[in-house]
């Protein structure tokens, strides 16, 4: 089997996509946004609570999409919960580099390890948008999505 495909569709990814964490809508969200991938028509919504300290107290996502977009959204919520806004942005930045196959220096060793399962996407340029959709939506929610 194709080595790149095996890396793309690792067990961790498939598991996240089949059993997404933090799936749903936070009723008391302080921020929310909808994301849309014109390439495939996939949609995702992100709801989150930014507390007084600028920390992501809670975060959910909802949407339908391919394994990559679902897994990426699920991992994202897992990783973002509890982080400060600034931390979250650095993480996103690192992630975007990673999936494009670029040097992701900004990532902590731990984050780098967690995200390693996503690095295979860089071999599939047409699917990179699937992986980044949730992250961009998160960013939109924080920047322009105050409820």
């Amino acid at each position: 089997m194709d080595q790149h495909l095996r890396e793309l569709y690792q067990e961790v990814i498939l598991d996240h996509s089949r059993h997404p964490r933090h799936f749903g809508v936070l009723p008391d969200a302080t921020h929310k946004a909808e994301g849309f991938n014109p390439l495939c028509g996939d949609k995702v919504s992100v709801t989150l609570i930014l507390d007084a300290d600028g920390k992501v107290a809670d975060i959910n996502f909802q949407g339908k999409g391919c394994a990559i977009s679902q897994a990426s959204a699920s991992m994202m919520t897992d990783m973002l919960k509890g982080r400060s806004k600034t931390d979250a942005e650095a993480l996103m930045d690192g992630f975007l580099h990673l999936v494009k196959g670029e040097d992701a220096q900004g990532l902590s060793p731990d984050d780098r390890e967690t995200l390693d399962v996503m690095s295979g996407i860089s071999e599939f340029p047409m699917r990179v948008k699937c992986a980044t959709l949730a992250w961009h939506t998160f960013k939109n929610a924080v920047e322009e999505g105050a409820t």
Partner: protein, 414 residues
């Protein structure tokens, strides 16, 4: 098996493949298996070669020129119009308007025929299986002029629901806009019957022939449609060109579409008068090179026994259908009798994009997504499907490759 099919069909797909240089390329080290002709067909050598040769020998702008090349180019362009007329089985070249594609042909009818006469509350009948290009132009009339869209349903097996069509046409109907062949289901609609129903109520019919023109042999008079839209790139021709067939009586009354050179009779500071059809609807420099390419594509196609091509494609369709039936984890969407060579399906637990990505790595190019047909996706309760569409250059070996790749995908994702 292939050999038998070939002889039965009277069409040699293997031989035809040699006319399409791209088909001998590889992707990811695997031979290309191109099953995305429904999105756009590959071009035979003759098409690109006709355009190049024309550019290198006879090219100039058309019409209005007195010099030799201008005359030569105009001859090419008008000969192409005659080729399109013949291909469509239309009565007169004056009924053939060159457009930039199928989408523009439909927009032209919406804007130049219907927009000037439609009133708030007037109805446009269209089907749930339409491509967005035969939906959004009518949504414009809803948004801007208060038109009402009446939807014709699709049956469970993916055919046009004729009872629903009958019910949809009413006293306020101003247009019936229906595809000739669905780009997702492959369903071929009974245009003659549709026309009979619509004309009985005095309603004109536009047929979206972007897929139909590729797979069916056409005769405008027999079909009886008022408008028929085609696009060049799906019919083995170049991009950047399409054509609208429209009855002369309609064209005469229609207002201009784009304004510019060639479509006028006289322009002053205070006034403008318009040229007769079809020039009235061809503002600006038309797709000259592309007209030559489109004519070459139609000539290429007409060089075969088209019934034999049809039989060949039907053979592929049936062969693929039978193979897919072995997979109980996969559901074909659209199984109408008489359908054309397009198969869409969904697979349990596998998103179309993931499937298509895996197929792609096996060299198999299929389409995944909503296929510009969101209302149809909604009708079948899916957000996307995977689609294999067949062209004259496909073979049973391509189907075999598809099936093998699907099995591999199942192994990875299933």
């Amino acid at each position: 098996m292939n050999a038998v099919a070939k002889i039965k069909a009277g069409f040699d797909a293997e031989a035809a493949r040699a006319d399409f240089p791209i088909l001998s390329r590889q992707v990811y080290g695997k031979p290309l298996v191109y099953l995305d002709s429904g999105a756009s067909a590959q071009k035979p050598r003759a098409v690109m070669e006709a355009m190049r040769r024309f550019a290198e020998t006879d090219y100039a702008n058309v019409h209005r020129g007195v010099h030799y090349l201008s005359g030569a180019a105009t001859d090419h362009y008008e000969t192409a119009r005659e080729t399109v007329r013949r291909f469509l089985g239309a009565g007169s070249v004056d009924e053939i308007v060159f457009t930039k594609g199928g989408t523009e042909a439909i927009n032209l009818v919406a804007q130049s025929y219907l927009a000037p006469i439609i009133q708030p509350g007037d109805e446009i009948v269209l089907s749930v299986m339409e491509h967005h290009s035969n939906i959004v132009p009518w949504h414009f009339l809803r948004e801007r002029q208060g038109a009402v869209l009446r939807w014709v349903e699709v049956t469970d097996d993916g055919a046009l629901d004729m009872a629903s069509l009958k019910a949809a046409i009413g006293p306020r109907t101003k247009m019936v806009a229906i595809t000739h062949m669905s780009n997702v289901l492959g369903a071929v609609t009974p245009l003659k019957e549709i026309v009979a129903l619509a004309h009985a109520q005095g309603v004109p019919v536009l047929a979206d022939g972007c897929q139909g023109a590729v797979h069916e042999t056409l005769d405008m008079a027999a079909l009886g449609v008022d408008f028929y839209a085609i696009t060049g790139h799906k019919i083995y021709g170049p991009t950047g060109i399409g054509a609208l067939y429209a009855r002369r009586a309609h064209l005469k009354k229609m207002r201009p579409y784009n304004g510019g050179g060639e479509m006028i009779r006289e322009v002053t500071r205070d006034s403008v008068t318009y040229a007769d059809p079809p020039a009235r609807f061809e503002a600006g420099t038309p797709p000259i090179l592309e007209s030559v390419g489109l004519a070459a594509a139609m000539d290429y196609l007409s060089g075969f026994d088209r019934a034999a091509i049809h039989a060949h494609e039907q053979d592929l369709l049936k062969y693929a259908r039978a193979q897919l039936a072995q997979f109980n984890w996969l559901r074909v969407v659209g199984d109408a009798p008489g359908k054309g060579a397009i198969i869409s399906f969904e697979a349990d637990g596998m998103h179309a994009h993931d499937l298509a990505t895996i197929l792609d790595r096996e060299g198999v190019a299929v389409r995944a997504g909503n296929h510009c047909a969101q209302p149809l996706m909604e009708r079948f309760g899916v957000t996307s499907t995977t689609r294999a569409s067949f062209a004259l250059y496909n073979t049973r070996a391509d189907v075999d490759a598809l099936i093998a790749a699907l099995e591999k995908a199942r192994g990875i994702l299933g």
